[in-house]
Assembly symmetry: C4
Homo-oligomer: 221 residues x 4
């Protein structure tokens, strides 16, 4: 069993590098092109690639959640205690914020700036609910039917969800908070964060219910 | 054996998320760029990615057809009864239509709008015949020579076919019907649907014949 | 042992679909964008994807050469007779030409048109020699150190070579001949074909020599 | 055990083809488009693809370092002698320079031209430190938790790092030196090389320390 300090380090490191990739590639993309679809491609590929890497490398240490909505579902399944889940969420948020700061330092902007991109309203919340439903269903089904493929499945799912949801699929409360601290391509206004988090958790819980019905005889992974 | 209700749920869910991705990423792409090739890239990558995910996750439940032409071939091989095949086709179409509605709700357009994109004539029908021939040949050969790779093979095949056929490769009667209910990037006029479906079924049946000749001593998977 | 007629069918079918993808995606790309790098991306991804599919599916039948330079190396290794190699080359060229015709019919152009794109001179020939050297080295080394990865390795190699060689990496005499019959994005002037074929065969033979020195104790696969 | 001459040949060949791909695809991209983000996509995909190919093929021969910072870490772990590590670094640099020359010959420019792109300052050095930290952590963790995935992991990591670091992630002293000899898309001024190399080695050593703490009971691979 990996020690709790190593597990929390892995969660912080993974969430931090994930956010640094999302924010950093967004800055790189918007600096290099005026075509927003090209910029989104330049945001999508690095995000998918780093998810594949981080989940493959860190899942043996911490489970590679990097996402409080995923940790919530794990706790609901009894796979971890409420206390451990809470600690996971804390270091995920802290790691994510550090990731935003790191991206800003690499691209020579102020370390933290409140996001200015409005992302609110029913269509956006529906998008976040769908996005997180799909992400959690992918993780739960994938970890039962083909565990070694989970890193590639999550990466592929998020690359799709960047494009098929209207919100570009944040699908992660820690990442959403971290992205509220940048005014660049991937940012979101701080006041829009709470509704996103609610929608994400709702989508996650619905996914858990669906998977339990689809695979009734299976044990949680 | 998975119960029929779970199998049908898996087919509806999979076809729905596939169509939501095709239609949703098309809307995202056409809103973000004026370069149609960039838009098609922004449609191609999410479609390939979600196919890899959905087939990997749902094949153990329902076979992950998501496509009446594939179900037709399965029934012709004796792998499922005509009644089950008919039910599959019904839920595939229903799921696909729901996918279009979901994409429209996420992107704040009317739930259902008749397609306006003309896609007709011999070259388009040839394209659909070739596209579906290739898709069914990929599934039939892949499920015999390397079954675990089928999700990646189908995803890769469709990403290629989006570009090498003049119709961008619908290759699926349920998806074609669902795409006749959107007037966005991925739409098709309702009056153009029947000929597409005929061409798709013809391509599928020809693929079955070819594979039977190429692998005569093999049992269907 | 697969019968010779089935092996030749597999070679013709594979080369044909490969060329249809190269030529068809080139036409699609040049019709949709004025940005040539975007067009090359729209040519690169489908080519890589279809190579992964075709080699995975057809290698168990024919070896999935689809390329007279690869067949030449196989014959030099004693893996097939000169007569069989000659038949392979004939059906590869015939299949490739049929692929060009199929792409033209899908995109409603004349079935066969002489290429107009000049591709000649030392830098182009060097590019083709390097491209084919790398392709054959990839196949020979890959089939020894990790055989199941060969389809993905060839696909990845060609996607790289489309960009790092000045000729966009034809690397295949049958494909070169077939591409001399289109005046679209992927075409080449017929008078430039012979020097390309010479450079390709030279690169292939050099790769065979290098691999024999690098892996002296290994048997050909 | 592969002979030292074969190991050094593999390192020189691999580094050479890697640099030829980085430099060549950069030239191809900047010639074909005025959109710098499209050009970076046209540089990213070939680099990732060739890394997957070269590491898969040559790792059984030499370990497929292609990078003095990786060789340094291997020597610090006791996996190779200081003398062998020094020879590795020499042939990596020589192979890299040959790769630049090869790219220039294929694209008909002067064989060697001093780079003109300024890449200096704290944000660039931080970027290189982060980029190499991530690369070495990927290799060290990957070779312990899932060795067969290392080629794909390195390829995916570098594709992400091209976009999320402000320097586009050189992350390799030999490649940095080789890229100082081109004045094209991927170039760097010779006077900016030393600080890049220092930052890269610092990132590599920090990664080694982190991985030793995260996986204390594991032996080096």
């Amino acid at each position: 069993m990996t020690s709790l300090s190593r597990r929390l380090t892995a969660e912080a490191l993974g969430t931090g590098l994930l956010v640094a990739t999302v924010v950093g590639s967004g800055i790189m993309a918007e600096r290099l092109t005026g075509d927003t679809a090209v910029a989104l491609l330049g945001n999508t590929l690095p995000t998918g690639a780093i998810l594949f890497v981080l989940i493959t490398l860190l899942a043996p240490l911490s489970g590679a959640h990097f996402n409080p909505a995923v940790t919530l579902v794990a706790a609901m399944q009894g796979a971890m205690s409420a206390r451990t889940a809470g600690l996971y969420a804390v270091v995920q948020v802290a790691g994510g914020v550090a990731g935003t700061v790191l991206a800003h330092l690499m691209f020579e902007t102020a370390p933290v700036v409140a996001g200015v991109q409005a992302r609110t309203g029913g269509a956006q919340w529906l998008s976040e609910g769908v996005a997180t439903f799909g992400l959690v269903a992918t993780i739960l089904l994938g970890s039962r039917v083909r565990p070694p493929a989970v890193p590639a499945l999550v990466a592929a799912y998020i690359m799709a969800a960047y494009w098929f949801t209207a919100s570009t699929s944040f699908a992660n409360p820690a990442v959403t908070i971290a992205r509220s601290l940048t005014d660049t391509f991937s940012g979101i206004r701080p006041e829009d964060v709470p509704a996103f988090v609610v929608a994400q958790c709702a989508g996650a819980v619905i996914a858990l219910g669906l998977v339990r019905w689809l695979l009734p005889n299976e044990k949680p992974a």
